[in-house]
Every structure is written in structure tokens, then in C-alpha cells.
């Protein structure tokens, strides 16, 4: 008996280890694939990035003379690893990525891209993580309850609301919220990450200030993403509520709230964890759009700026850091999954 148990434990450890190993291997692959795309896509396209840069300098520097321009071309080729064969370029690219060195931003020259990313990424992460967790919880809980009581009138009302709200473009929805709550009814600020006129410091007032500024962007994301989770959860619950253990607990008179939360929602949420992992990329993109509406000092606004100024190097940097961020978040969610599902934890 003891032997059996030992053996059992070893097997468990092994499956868990295989799961983790496979997952981490995949993470490395995803990062590799994504960043390679970042390297190759621009090189497959017809336009020459260096010309874009020179153009940028021309637009706001005083007229550069021809000789300067030509030397600049060479400098930039070296700077951006565009000299040498494709293989050499690719190797240089990786060497630079691994040291998080994306070169300088063209528009915000000479600020290095990595410096800009360091400045803006925390805002995006904060906005995204908060809104994702809140949207996921609220969407799943309301979706779970509505799915369980799918005949009730308010559940039907929620259905209609979610269906109509869900396909709204993030930009339009955010803008409407902005007009409603920052202009017509001035409860929230018009945008930005914190109040102007005084740099942020680490204290409760600053924290509340940041919260107040991020309320509307978070609300936008929570409502729009929450509607997606709502729909998914509602469908999942309709399956789960017909499972034997739910039906039986119901027959046994287990109280409704206990039934809905512990039996129905908890079980239906498990596939939603996987869903969360898969949709982080989408959520990320949505957050980027919402930031723009609210002039939120995150990667989205930076990207918008970079696009309109054609700051090609910065766009590459943002794309690269997005891939790293998103795949890391997905990895974290996937690694958390066994903690939630005992069937994987103790297989």
C-alpha cells in the first residue's frame, strides 16, 4: 500500500513536471517566434526604415545638408543593425533584444526606446491587469448567475445588454464615457495618468489620484471585456448546470447561493482560465486603444504617437515588449491553472 502511494506521488509529480516543462518550452518558442516576426516583417516590406528616419529628422530639424544625410544613413544602418547579411543582422538583433536595447527612438531622439518602454509599460500593465481581473471576475460571476437563472427577466436583460455592448468599438465607447463622466457630469478627469502640476510620489494621495484617473479607462475595459466573459460563461454554465453533481446537490437541497457559486460557477470558471490565457493578447490590444481615448500615459498612447510620427523603431520596440508581456502573462495564467483544478494538480 505504501509502495503504491509512493508510486502514485511520483507519477503526480511527473505529470505536473511534464506540464510545466512543456509550457515553458512553448513560452520560449512563442517569444522566439514573435520576436523573429518583429525582425522579419519590416524586412519583407518594401519601405526602407532608414528613409523614414531621415525624413523624421528633416521634418523638425533645420534642413540637413546632403553630406550629413549620407553619413547619417551609414550611422543608422549600424545603429539599427541593418548592415551586413541577413543572418548577421538577425544575430545582432537577438543580441540587442536580449539586452533590451532597441536603439533610440527616432522621434524622441536621443531617448532610447527601452527608456521609453520603462517609463510607459508600468501604466499599461497596471491598467490592463486591474481591468482584466475585474472584468474576468465580474463577467464570469454575472454570466454564471445569469446562466443559472437563465429564465429570469433580468438575465434576459443582461443578455441583451451584453450582446449590444460587446461589439462596440472600444474607442467610441470610451469617448462616450469620457463625454458623459468628464464633461457633462464632471466626476472624473479628462484623461492622463495623474494630476498635472506636481510629480507623482509614493503616498496615499498620489495613489488615489492615479486610481481616480484610471477609473474611466478601467470602466471601459471592464464593461467591454466583461461582456465577452459574460457570454462565454453563460454558455458554459448552461452545460455545467445539467451535470449530475449540480442536479444532485440541487435535489439535496443545497442552498442556491452555495450551489451557484461553489458548484456551477467554480466549475465553469476553469475553462475560462484557459480562455483568459488565450485572450490576453486581445485584451492587450483593447487596452492600447482605450489608453488613447483617455490620454493615458501607457504604451497605447506611446504607440499612437509613434504611429503618427512614424517612429518606426519605437513601434518595433513596443511590438517586442508587447509580445514579451503578453506571452509572459499567458504563461503565468497557465501556470496558475493547476492550482485551481485539483484534477491536474493531483493526476
Amino acid at each position: 500500500m505504501d509502495d503504491l502511494e509512493e508510486e502514485n506521488k511520483r507519477m503526480k509529480a511527473k505529470t505536473l513536471r511534464t506540464y510545466l516543462a512543456r509550457r515553458i518550452l512553448q513560452y520560449i518558442f512563442v517569444v522566439f517566434l514573435g520576436l523573429s516576426l518583429v525582425f522579419f516583417i519590416p524586412r519583407l516590406l518594401p519601405q526602407d526604415p532608414i528613409r523614414a528616419i531621415i525624413g523624421q529628422f528633416q521634418q523638425h530639424g533645420a534642413g540637413l545638408d546632403t553630406k550629413t544625410v549620407e553619413t547619417m544613413v551609414v550611422t543608422f544602418q549600424e545603429l539599427f543593425g541593418l548592415s551586413g547579411s541577413l543572418v548577421e543582422q538577425y544575430l545582432t538583433f537577438w543580441r540587442r533584444i536580449l539586452t533590451l536595447d532597441f536603439g533610440p527612438s527616432f522621434f524622441q531622439f536621443p531617448t532610447p526606446v527601452s527608456e521609453l518602454l520603462r517609463r510607459f509599460l508600468p501604466w499599461t500593465l497596471g491598467l490592463m491587469l486591474t481591468s482584466t481581473v475585474v472584468a474576468w471576475l465580474i463577467g464570469n460571476i454575472i454570466g454564471g448567475i445569469a446562466g443559472y437563472f437563465s429564465r429570469s427577466r433580468w438575465a434576459r436583460l443582461m443578455d441583451v445588454l451584453a450582446t449590444v455592448v460587446r461589439p462596440m468599438p472600444h474607442y467610441v465607447f470610451g469617448l462616450v464615457l469620457l463625454i458623459l463622466f468628464a464633461y457633462l457630469w464632471k466626476v472624473f478627469p479628462l484623461g492622463g495618468g495623474a494630476s498635472i502640476g506636481k510629480p507623482l510620489s509614493f503616498n496615499i494621495v498620489s495613489l488615489l489620484d492615479v486610481l481616480r484617473h484610471s477609473f474611466l479607462p478601467i470602466l471601459t475595459l471592464v464593461i467591454l471585456n466583461g461582456a465577452v466573459w459574460y457570454h462565454q460563461m453563460r454558455l458554459l454554465v448552461q452545460n455545467v448546470k445539467n451535470e449530475d453533481f449540480v442536479q444532485y446537490a440541487k435535489m439535496g437541497g443545497v442552498r442556491t447561493w452555495c450551489l451557484v457559486s461553489q458548484y456551477v460557477i467554480r466549475n465553469a470558471m476553469l475553462p475560462q482560465v484557459t480562455g483568459l490565457a488565450l485572450s490576453i493578447g486581445q485584451i492587450y490590444s483593447a487596452a492600447i486603444i482605450v489608453e488613447i481615448v483617455f490620454s493615458y500615459p501607457g504604451l497605447g498612447t506611446l504607440l499612437f504617437e509613434a504611429i503618427s510620427r512614424a517612429d518606426y523603431n519605437l513601434i518595433m520596440g513596443i511590438a517586442a515588449i508587447s509580445i514579451l508581456t503578453v506571452s509572459t502573462l499567458v504563461l503565468i495564467v497557465d501556470l496558475l491553472y493547476p492550482l485551481l483544478d485539483p484534477r491536474i494538480r493531483y493526476r
Partner: protein, 327 residues
């Protein structure tokens, strides 16, 4: 010997939403039966004969859409008072369930929430009927599990870590937690291997012997009935076609359908393959006229095709619904 449960011409079934109209599936048709104190009452029949539905109608809280009662009455006898179950409010029904009548479902392999420990399910069930602190309730559960001869450690396991037989026995433990007067068991031995089956039957018998309560046991396996049932009812197409003491039925089955069922039982020293019932059970959507069994009956007569035979007493303990016996 008092009654614990009585059905009077009960009609129940499901409503199927189909292409152009709603169709009624009359899974239980004009069933009357009386279940007594301190007995094991078996209900037998092929799958699709309506026996599980019948069992569900006996369990008050299980009567909810899509299952519907079309007519008839259900009575419980709580502390010698006759209670018309169908007139009860939801709360009153809830109070009775698990305390007066409990249920072991079909396919009870998956009655436990897969992502929570078995213990929590026991607690949830207890909490909704007994107002006590969690620790006390846990003690109750542990004591009960122990009393049934199971290791109390299983309560700390997740369902997927347990064997099918163990889960079934835990389901029985769950159903008997509050010492109910009536236990409704729906196919408790199906899908178990022989050894586990035996343990489950043993457990049920012991529980009954100990607390002198009543078990209503639904299974298609006549062998199980032969083993533990006091009385047996045979169901066909939503009707009871024969009812009597187990010994009487086994020894002298009167209905041709019962005969087939009994003949299909394996016996020691048997040499040839047993005969099973010829043909297929009818669909509830398209029941034959007259006696629903007539298309498969070797003794079919004209009257069988026209008129429905009523369940009548052959003797005090034996009832049958067949034109053959009327002759």
C-alpha cells in the same frame, strides 16, 4: 406495518419541444402504488420503461421542469400524518427532502463536485438542513461515514482520486446522512464491477436492517432485486404491469413480460444461452394501443390490441395487469 409513501393514479412525463408542436412524453402513466415501512421495494424494467422517472416523482424536490406531473397524487406519511406532496410549497418540500426522503441518483459516479473535496459536499448537504457549526457537522459526517464501515480519510480526497465503488458507497452515505425514512436509489449498482456491486448491495441491506427504514430500489437487474428486495414492481411503458413479493414473483411470474425478465436471469448450472425479450421497447411518443406489450407478447389476443388491462389483485400480495389472467 404502516405506509411511508403512496402514489395514486400518477401521470407524469416530459414535454418535448419539437419542430412544429409540443409533444408529451408520458413516462409515467396511471401508476398507483403503496410503499410500506421497513421494506426494500424494487422497481424493475427495461431501460426506457419509465422507472427512473417514477422514482423521481417520488422525490418531491426533483419535480421541476422538464419533469411534470399531469395528474394523480403523491402522499408522504410523516409522523403518521398523510401529506399531499403536490400541494406543498418549495420550502416545505425542501425540509422534507433528505430528512424524510433522500435520493441516490443514477450514475452516481459524478455526484461529487470534481474540483472540491468530498467533505465539502457532505457539509453543503448538512448545512442546508441542520443549523449547526461547521465543526460539529463535520463530526457528524465523519461519524456517519465510519459507521458505514468506510475510512474517514476518504472525506479529504478529491472525487477523481476515488474508485467507482467507493464513490458509490459515499453517495449512499451522503443519502443516509440524516437518517431518512425513505431512500430512493436509482440504479445504484449499474456500471460497477461485480465485487463493488456486492459491497454496495451489502451496504444497502445493512443500512435498511439497522435503521428499519425503506429503500425504493430501481434497477433493470433482476438479480439485484432477487437478492435484496422485499417486494418488486415490474414496469413496462410507464405502467406497472405486475407487483408482488419477491419470492412470489420469482417463483411464479404471471405477466409474460415478467417471465421474460426472470428467464433472462443466469442460473447456476445453466447450459444454454438465456432468452431475452424479443423486439424493442416501444417509444413513448408512439405507444401501441391497448396493452403496450402486445406487439412483443407471444400470447397476444384481440382484446390486448384494443383495451388497456388494469392492475388487479391475483391474491393479497400479488397484482397483475394482463388480459391473460382475466380469463
Amino acid at each position: 406495518m404502516g405506509l411511508v409513501l403512496k402514489l395514486e393514479s400518477l401521470r407524469a412525463g416530459y414535454i418535448l419541444r419539437s419542430l412544429d408542436r409540443n409533444r408529451v412524453i408520458p413516462a409515467v402513466n396511471e401508476v398507483s402504488l403503496e410503499i410500506r415501512d421497513d421494506e426494500i421495494y424494487g422497481i424493475a424494467g427495461e431501460s426506457g420503461s419509465g422507472k427512473s422517472t417514477l422514482l423521481k416523482t417520488m422525490f418531491a424536490t426533483a419535480i421541476e421542469p422538464p419533469l411534470r406531473i399531469f395528474g394523480g397524487k403523491i402522499y408522504y406519511y410523516v409522523q403518521n400524518k398523510e401529506i399531499d406532496v403536490l400541494t406543498l410549497s418549495v420550502q416545505e418540500k425542501m425540509r422534507l427532502s433528505w430528512q424524510y426522503v433522500s435520493y441516490i441518483p443514477q450514475g452516481s459516479m459524478s455526484v461529487f463536485n470534481p474540483i472540491r473535496k468530498v467533505r465539502t459536499v457532505f457539509l453543503d448537504f448538512l448545512k442546508s438542513h441542520v443549523k449547526e457549526g461547521e465543526e460539529k457537522l463535520l463530526a457528524v459526517a465523519t461519524r456517519h461515514v465510519k459507521a458505514l464501515g468506510l475510512a474517514p480519510e476518504v472525506l479529504d480526497a478529491y472525487p477523481h482520486q476515488l474508485s467507482g465503488g467507493m464513490k458509490q458507497r459515499l453517495a449512499i452515505a451522503l443519502a443516509t446522512l440524516l437518517n431518512p425514512r425513505v431512500i430512493l436509489a436509482d440504479e445504484p449498482t449499474t456500471a460497477l464491477d461485480v465485487v463493488a456491486q456486492k459491497a454496495v448491495i451489502q451496504l444497502l441491506r445493512e443500512i435498511q436492517r439497522e435503521s428499519k427504514n425503506t429503500i425504493v430500489l430501481v434497477t433493470h437487474d433482476m438479480g439485484v432485486h432477487a437478492n435484496i428486495a422485499t417486494r418488486v414492481a415490474i414496469m413496462y411503458a410507464g405502467k406497472i404491469v405486475e407487483e408482488g413479493s419477491t419470492t412470489a414473483i420469482l417463483k411464479r411470474p404471471l405477466h409474460p413480460y415478467t417471465k421474460y425478465l426472470i428467464d433472462s436471469l443466469p442460473r447456476i448450472g445453466d447450459k444454454h444461452v438465456r432468452e431475452s425479450v424479443p423486439g424493442n421497447p416501444p417509444s413513448f411518443l408512439d405507444l401501441p394501443s391497448g396493452c403496450a406489450f402486445h406487439p412483443r407478447c407471444p400470447y397476444v389476443q384481440e382484446i390486448c390490441k384494443r383495451e388497456v388491462p388494469q392492475l388487479v389483485n391475483v391474491n393479497a400480495e400479488h397484482k397483475i395487469a394482463c388480459w391473460l389472467e382475466r380469463r
